[in-house]
């Protein structure tokens, strides 16, 4: 178990180091660069050259990377040039990540809450109209671009019916205390329940829109896993032993079918973060997705570096956690 964890952690370090190098070189290949973004459309070529020299961008790439590493070791990942100019890139990430995480977690919970029971149901009724209908509708969710479903939801519930907020994380009138940056959690911690409720209400539509991405996969995997498990020997044995259908379903079928579902959730982290980029834009949530979108537009290298690296780390870490959970559930895997 320990060796397994250590090996995976080493892998994480490797991914981060390689990615940081690739990212560093890559971003500097982008046309334009932060200099024009910083100077705006009124700059003279001389001012541009001067600024490039001041920022050390006229030096060889390898020198720049080395300086970047030196600073990174001391915890300085640069300062934002476009997203939130003058703010340390790490701080930009840290103030924005809770918004994205809050949204993603809620979307994932929704997807699991709907996808798992539906998947189970579809498997039990395999081949029936219910099965075909749920399969097809889960796939419709995949086929609709997430920004379009986000727009539709917003249009119907926020604009036409006016029952849910249009955008943002919290109404400006709410005087909320910030503790962790997770607004729902903050509201609960400080007992400002109206603030928590307001934040939750703001998240309903974005979370539903984003949930369509993991929902289809979770549904399909659950269905397949349940189908696999019902024919396994131990389930037949359990049935033969005369255990009640209910016990067989929950103790044997669902429990064992959950393993692949957990793995899938890990693999969905990347897709969730990607979907968050689009959802945040439609609902104007100031999360990391928005930071990336603005970052590319204004060529904010420090923020892009931190955000993309952090997203990759989150992905690898979540998958590590999933594997560990997996190993805990299924002892056979520990020796591998």
């Amino acid at each position: 178990m320990l060796r397994f964890t250590v090996r995976r952690l080493a892998q994480l370090v490797l991914v981060v180091v390689v990615l940081s190098m690739l990212l560093f070189g890559w971003l500097r290949l982008l046309p334009g660069g932060p200099v024009s973004a910083l100077l705006g459309d009124r700059a003279t070529p001389e001012a541009r050259a001067q600024l490039e020299a001041q920022l050390g961008m006229d030096q060889p790439l390898i020198v720049q990377y080395w300086k970047f590493l030196e600073r990174a070791v001391s915890g300085d990942f640069g300062t934002s040039t476009g997203v939130q100019r003058g703010t340390p890139a790490l701080e930009v990430f840290l103030t924005r990540f809770p918004a994205t995480l809050e949204l993603s977690i809620l979307a994932l919970l929704l997807a699991v809450a709907v996808g798992v029971p539906l998947g189970y149901l579809a498997a039990r009724r395999r081949g029936t109209w219910l099965d075909n209908l749920t399969i097809t509708s889960s796939l419709v969710g995949v086929a609709v671009p997430v920004f379009f479903s986000a727009f539709l939801l917003k249009y119907v519930f926020a604009i036409e019916l006016g029952v849910l907020p249009v955008s943002g994380r919290q109404d400006t009138g709410i005087d909320a205390t910030r503790v962790t940056g997770f607004y729902i959690l903050d509201g609960l911690l400080t007992r400002e329940f109206d603030a928590a409720w307001n934040a939750l209400v703001h998240l309903v539509l974005p979370a539903i829109a984003l949930a369509t991405i993991p929902f289809a996969v979770i549904f399909r995997i659950t269905r397949a896993a349940v189908l696999d498990v019902v024919d396994e020997d131990y389930v037949r044995t359990a049935r033969a032993k005369g255990l009640s259908a209910m016990v067989v379903r929950t103790r044997h079928v669902l429990h064992n079918a959950m393993l692949p579902v957990v793995t899938t959730i890990g693999l969905q982290t990347g897709a969730l973060l990607a979907g968050a980029v689009l959802t945040e834009r439609v609902f104007n949530i100031s999360g990391i997705g928005q930071a990336v979108a603005i970052g590319f537009q204004r060529k904010d290298f420090p923020v892009l570096q931190v955000v993309i690296l952090a997203a990759a780390m989150v992905y690898v870490l979540v998958n590590l956690l999933v594997d560990l959970t997996y190993a805990l559930i299924d002892p056979r895997l520990r020796t591998r």
Binding site: G32, A43, L55, D76, T172, Y183, R298
Partner: protein, 561 residues
Amino acid sequence: MSRAPSTGRGARRRFVTAGLAAALTVSLAACAESERDAAGGGEGGTLTFGAAGAPNLFDPFYASDGETFRVTRQIMEGLVGFKPGTADVEPELATEWTHSPDGTDWTFTLREGVKFHDGTDFNAAAVCANFERWYHQTGAGQNQALSYYWIENFGGFADGQQPSLYESCEASNPTTVTVHLTRATSKFPDLLGLPSFSMQSPTAMETYRANDVRAQGDSFVYPEYAKSHPTGTGPFTFTGYDQGNGTITLSRNEDYWGEKAKLDELIFRIIPDETVRKQELQAGSIDGYDFPNAADLQSLRDAGNNVMVRDPFNIMYLGITQKNNPALQDLRVRQALAYAVDRETLVQAALPDGAEVATQFYPDTVDGYAEDVQEYPHDPERARQLLAEAGHPDLTVNFYWPTEVTRPYMPDPQGIYNSLAEDLRAVGITVNPVSKPWNGGYIDDVDNARADLFLLGWTGDYNTPDNFIGTFFGTTTNRFHTASSPWGEDLAAQLRAADSEPDENRRDAMYQDINRRLLSEYLPAVPLSHSPPAIVVSPEVEGLVPSPLTAEEFASVSISR
């Protein structure tokens, strides 16, 4: 009631009417105000305004972006200000000023009894402290990315590497200050109304190390002052910036020297997406926003909102770079381009309500506007003929247009490009489109004179011709590369001479002459249009006076809810 005057096409000197309407608006609002007061209250409340982007920082001296200025304009004031609804200078922290005959010594009489938000007295010493702070910038502070407006208007710094317009500041007594310049310029004192030259508290700047800006790594590191302690004399004080929720909160300055702000709180909520801003206004969670999409104006009005179309104070032009394509050095070819484009259709199909065809390089509200410039009506036949005469019937051009951007003067670059390219093709010109992201190579390429034709424009900072044509053609190796033509240097010299002329009437005549030549003899670019940017507020909001400089002040604004 407080709707802005309609901006009929071709009306000249419309700022007068705008000013009148503004006055009317204010007085009507005041009426409504007093009525409500009689009915018991009505003042106070919170107004939430949808901002299009995050401000870069809160020290306007280091800023050049509209979103920063929108906030600091409420917190800070300059020696001079602009009359609401116009681009004309009026007294603000200085009550009056005089200048020496040669236009180099400017003496300002300061308003008395004014205090900065931190309690520091506003006086002659504070004014000089601000001027000296600007002049003595070092290191990163001298970078154009930070002190753009200083460099653009005053030139160099105390280290003397570049000549500076500023010489010294002299505090004769607490209420009298004299600014010595090295030469006369048409820009003074108007430029002191720019938000960058707002008066800031010397004490607060000292305490929070306002000048401590450094270039580090790939970017700049700003001091505490610029991030969270901007301190001015304005009707609102800075309360806080919640980055997680994207809101900036300002509160009423209870000790303001003039008429106090009506609102208790003014919140700017950052909503980068235009569509979302509109939806939020409709949902009632914001009370107004800037730069509504031209296509939305009618539906916004239908919903009862107050859409105010500002007077246009900008220009969009079809830029011509003479450097790479020798054919473009021929006046007849450039004239052919001017005849080829159908600006009437462009304005109707691609530009917003109130947009108009431009006959010269700045709107008619700016001094030196010439009534009798050569005009270029849509005439494809004439264009073809001119191309043939010049020996370029099969002209080929690289036409640059930007992506990932909209500008108040250029709401839909792709649509505008498509329209113009079709016109040019119609007269037999081969157009190679080159599209690049605004910050991803477009500005670089255009500024380094790599294009043949390009789309660009300008929004005026203040009401002087130099701010428009001086910026465009004052140097010869810029994006137009007028150095490729024999007249390029002449034009630059004429512009310099006009700018340094202290006599207003003579200066006006000089600029008129330059404008006539620009259109008939030089034609370094084809002026296309002036597009008025709009601003919209909900029916509950009263007293907002739209400014052609997009410099709205919220002190006079009230909200009934």
